[in-house]
Subunit: 443 residues, 2 copies
Amino acid sequence: MKTVIIGGAATGMGVAAKLKRLNPEMEIKVIQKENYVSLGACGIPYYIGNHFDNSQTLIARTVEKFREQKIEVIINSNVTKIDFKNHEVYYNNNVEYYDNLVIATGAKPIIPSIENISGNNIFTVSTKQDGENIRAKLASTKNVLVVGSGLIGLEMIENIKTFNSKIDITIIEKSQRPLQSLFDEEFTSVIEEKMAEKNINLIKNNEVDKFVLNNHGDVKGAILKTGEKILCDMVILAIGFAPNTEFLQNSGLNLNSRGSIIIDKYCQTNFNNVYAGGDCAETFGFLYNDPKVLYLATIANKHAKIIANNIFKAQFFEFKGTLGTAIVRFFDLELARTGENNFVLENQRVLTKSVLVKDKDHTNYLENQNDLVLKLTIDQATKQIVNAQILGKDKAVMRIYGLIGLMWSRTSVDEHLEQIDLPYSPPFSRTTDIIQIAISKLV
Amino acid sequence: MKTVIIGGAATGMGVAAKLKRLNPEMEIKVIQKENYVSLGACGIPYYIGNHFDNSQTLIARTVEKFREQKIEVIINSNVTKIDFKNHEVYYNNNVEYYDNLVIATGAKPIIPSIENISGNNIFTVSTKQDGENIRAKLASTKNVLVVGSGLIGLEMIENIKTFNSKIDITIIEKSQRPLQSLFDEEFTSVIEEKMAEKNINLIKNNEVDKFVLNNHGDVKGAILKTGEKILCDMVILAIGFAPNTEFLQNSGLNLNSRGSIIIDKYCQTNFNNVYAGGDCAETFGFLYNDPKVLYLATIANKHAKIIANNIFKAQFFEFKGTLGTAIVRFFDLELARTGENNFVLENQRVLTKSVLVKDKDHTNYLENQNDLVLKLTIDQATKQIVNAQILGKDKAVMRIYGLIGLMWSRTSVDEHLEQIDLPYSPPFSRTTDIIQIAISKLV
């Protein structure tokens, strides 16, 4: 019985490790593009921000460690074709037969078709090499242009400023607001204020038309769609991801319109014994079962466990769906969110009721009392919470755990819930917590 | 229609304010012992610790503010008798007729019958005056003896050290461990280590036999049951509370064996139109409906709301019970807990399963990664979480919100819950959160 896994990141290596624990006799081969596996890619911005020195720290577990466990890892290898009929995977000049196949090729940064996009010092944030290259170059960089103000764009801004607060940063966003799909305007306006405070030049509703290079091919600026010129000696592209599935086009494997592999809730593709999970696969919402394309390590890890269990037991372990939970730090600001955004809610024709509460994180008489903002949205039909967004400082947003607990339990917002026994102690909270205030306004 | 409220703390003033909002025509009289109302007693240790300068800050709302709202507040008045048959309250030299009566007299610190207990510089932590007296005396104090290592004892230790780290502290605990009814040994042992680190002398399994006074009547030491002598020039008594209900003995009002007023879930006593709530009343557990005596501001606030609603609407707003949630800081340590302790679980004959997980609060490559310990206990029959305890630093224990959400929703621990969509971001958490690890071990 042989399981072949394509891709050595969270899902792939997660399946390998779990499956080996479940069945030490199982033959497991991982085919990996890079010369390493188990990259903690979420750490790259923090490596760039000088929070740690050795990029090797980003590697959660080495190839050697996996090999010690008798998991075969074939590095530096690109899968070019899969013959699903004959159970064969083609890579470099080899063919590998499989009994079970796991496709966990992840996603790659989108690189837009812009003139001079291949100029020097235009980077994405995805591989270990990206991190090393950016950090090395930052030492001689004065002006950075960040393209895209999603989670990675914001993490990069914070970390570039941590690396060297004198580096000037311009950030350009195609849509009307940063983090538009994650947070409502009441929250993103505070991010914009923080950018202004940090002298970060945010340009919204605009795009790069072309990059300008010098004689050495180094980027020296960008011209925007509106004609505006931006000086920069480094560009960070953070406009999003696309699944690594080109080699699967026309293979017979079902892909959605964005190229994500379509899987059922057992992480099975349309071919028997072929599983997919993580960033290369489509996922779905916990609340409304709607298909989603998200690139989250938490989903990748859960998919891994489900795939390993299903291969081992041939039972049906189900993925339960995602709330799209996210938490992000932006300098001293913290934002957390979970649940469906307005776009999805409107699409699902959900009648909602929302409340926005502005309060404080703890008692007024203790130091460092900070503003705390919570927006809660319920489905008017079920009275269940369908979206929660929190903004605060100093970990007050960890309250999102409570709201996730309620959403995951599909609990109704009513007089019973209003009395939820949340903790009170002067350094941590007020006698009536912001969550209770919000619930009382929705009852 | 006249409502008389006895007691001007959280429950009493909470009822007054809410009832006035519900029915501005209602005649409301509050009879209060002190010359102030709405004392935030939980702030007293922090006032002593010099976190703020003006003890008036402890007053959430003044008598004048309530009077502006046409709530009559009669201060410096002790109720001595209630004639429930004729609806009359006797205080000082007056009698007040009521249509509805609310008894919210709270609790007072237990003062043990120990020789020389009335010596100078032996304090409790309850009134504003207590706070002022302790803080004034601390300036000339070298050795403090704290009697009792519950929440207030620990808060006092931290704040005495914040006031002046050179003050020597001895703490004496009758039972085997500090915070014994709140936390298991795995957690309290860490508190004991922290005490040792801070050179605090913890004496367990022992009690004060008598205090020793000097010629001026000032305390200068204590002799323990074991004969050991402790030098001290100040004593903080923090051995617990008892309800302020002596004046109700033999009045016909039902009290439990500890003197707490017995109420139903609507906060009604055994007399029509007589309500009680907060620290002077008995409460009950959310999980097993068992009667409990707890002194928590969160319960007092909820009782207030229920009483006001029930008086106004003559409807039945129910109290849902308590999880005994608590959160406490002890220097850089933080502990949070919720649910039933082993004593109650054994009493209720609940078969349980527990897991203790030692993990870290966030990713290893970011600064200030700290130990995080979680103990989860489930009821084997229902698979519901019945107890959670967390120990950590830097607000990582705010995860207790998540566990409270699950307990309040009576959610079962199963494969579904294992996938709960908790947030991941390097500064806040790891890809698999400690809550998920604990749940996976209980499935």
